[in-house]
Amino acid sequence: MNPILKDAGISALVALGLFGPMIGLKTEASATGLFLVPRPLALAAAVAAVFFGRLVLLTWRGRRPGRYRANRGLSEALKRSGRFLTPVLLAFAVVLPFISGRYGIDLGILVLTYVMLGWGLNIVVGLAGLLDLGYVAFYAVGAYSFALLSQTFGLGFWTCLPLAGLFAATWGVMLGFPVLRLRGDYLAIVTLAFGEIIRIVLLNATSITGGPNGIAGIPRPTLFGLQFSAAGGPDTFSGFFGLEYSPTQRVAFLYYVILGLALLTNWVTLRLRRVALGRAWEALREDEIACRSLGINVTVTKLTAFAIGAAFGGFAGAFFATRNAFISPESFTFIESAIVLAIVVLGGLGSQLGTALAAIVMIGGFEVFRDLAEYRMLLFGTALVLIMILRPRGLVSGRTPSVALGRRREISAELVAEGRG
């Protein structure tokens, strides 16, 4: 049989199975309760659309089904644009608060938080190759560390920020120890459980964390002791600089804080890639046994990856707490880990620029299409599928060597599974 016809037939069958209950049966409410109304015509239309759609698509592509290849043209274009895309993005990020309103800055803060989380997780997943499905745990540890330290000891944001990172790193090491021998799927399962354990502990340790009620009244960050408040005294930002108070000042300040934190994460990662430790991470991702035979202390290498990745998660968590002024376990569910991991994978494992782009697309895109209400998830899913078809190894999937004599030659996407730094 014609392979195209066969493929379209299989697609139609899958559509029938999927749409059978979803479109073929409609629930109607009546006085006595719900009853089912069959809709064979609508079902037939949907299945026929899939059948002919697939037929047209495959004929148009003019080759046998099931052979997706990385789109070279797009890949080349992205590679070329990468050189000026980075400075453009950076410049845009710096001027955003001046050219945008309150909503834009808020959205910028949200995107940058995920960029930072993505860059932090990239150290663990992208560079060291340790699949971590519980990254949100460190985000939570950072947020709760800051919240509890400020509530209990009255410490401010800037004092707590390094402490939050330190606590998160400690938890990273604590997670790291039991999973040292695990790889791949098994590692993913344990880290997933770890993320849930942290959340459930936060939920149930009511006397310390307030349980589901969370912690409110978390202090805002200050600028060298200057507060952002309407009081207008000499110890407030507006009073000190003789400006008129506006709540946007505080939001813009928060924006620059997260921008700085995110750039710090990026800078540290880029530096680490060029030293022995970072190279050992990448080597570990490639071949653990070879690493051992070269005298690399695999235990220490893995633990530092967990610890440093976790520390950045902790910084981001502390920022999240100070921005929202309120935290509860609800903010640290598995879906957060999944989103951050999706950002890293879609961006191209190991790629800094890719992670940033993916965060903008995923978080920003999700917000921009808010007006589309329930269709937004559909769009979102379509976008993910499209990216995976066109760029199966992530948006930016080449790899720049960490060291080179003379010109750095990009290693093309077809040859690497993980992206560049």
């Binding site: 080597a283 070269l294 005298g295 290693i411």
Partner: protein, 240 residues
């Protein structure tokens, strides 16, 4: 010191309940090339890994340079001047040749990096041409050269080579064995070579051991072993 650089006495090793090494005695003197030959599954690679502490020997003792390394963790052993080119090469495929070599030099914190790298390039000029290339795109022979070069970057006193001829064309094997001989003559590097290619290995080595089912059954000089009829029958049948 004048004693052996490496001395194994009564070493046993297990994979779970399976005993892979059944009391191996072996010595490698400084400046020697010693080869260990044996059939598939005889325990050759296990012996190599046991010297490196992964798995650890259950009984017996491993002395390196007079020091007991039996119970040390792998990374500490590899800091003492041993280097291994593991079975199946295990180069870092997505990293460049340059990065692979840097990984080898990490254990000595890049000391004498330039000089060692130049030595590797004299042995294997091909690596210099391929410096910016991804390890995985090299040919099998070049990958083997890279694996040996990477091991040499740690400036070892004892080089452990696990089946460097695996899956390579005879011409490439000769080239690699030639490099090992040159290295041994010119720098006095001690080599413990595990091989299935018994003929080539015994011709290269000063001394050899034959490993059968996890135990040494024969030992002697390379020429002696080559001349023995049972070796010819078991390992060199149809050989060159």
């Amino acid at each position: 010191m004048s004693g052996p650089l490496l001395k194994l006495s009564g070493v046993t090793a297990f994979y779970g309940a399976i005993q892979a090494l059944k009391g191996v005695d072996l010595e490698v003197a400084p400046g020697e090339i010693v080869t260990l030959i044996g059939a598939n599954g005889a325990g050759k690679s296990t012996l190599m890994m046991t010297i490196c502490g992964s798995p650890h020997a259950r009984h017996g003792q491993i002395l390196y340079d007079g020091r007991d390394i039996t119970a040390l963790p792998t990374h500490e052993i590899m800091h003492m001047g041993l280097a291994q080119s593991p079975e199946g090469r295990r180069i870092f495929g997505r990293m460049t040749v340059h990065e692979n070599l840097l990984m080898g030099a990490q254990v000595v914190a890049m000391r004498n990096y330039a000089a060692t790298r130049d030595l590797v390039f004299t042995l294997f000029p091909r690596l210099k041409e391929r410096l910016a290339q991804r390890g995985g795109t090299l040919s099998g022979g070049e990958q083997q050269m890279l694996a040996i070069g990477r091991a040499l970057m740690s400036q070892p006193r004892l080089l452990l080579l696990d089946e460097p001829s695996l899956g390579l064309a005879p011409l490439v094997v000769r080239q690699i064995f030639g490099a090992i001989r040159q290295l041994n003559r010119e720098t006095g590097l001690t080599v413990l070579l595990v091989e299935q290619n018994a003929f080539q290995a015994l011709r290269l080595a000063h001394r050899g051991y034959v490993l059968v089912n996890g135990a040494v059954t024969m030992a002697g000089s390379g020429a002696e072993l080559l001349a023995r009829p049972e070796i010819r029958a078991a390992y060199l049948e149809g050989g060159h």
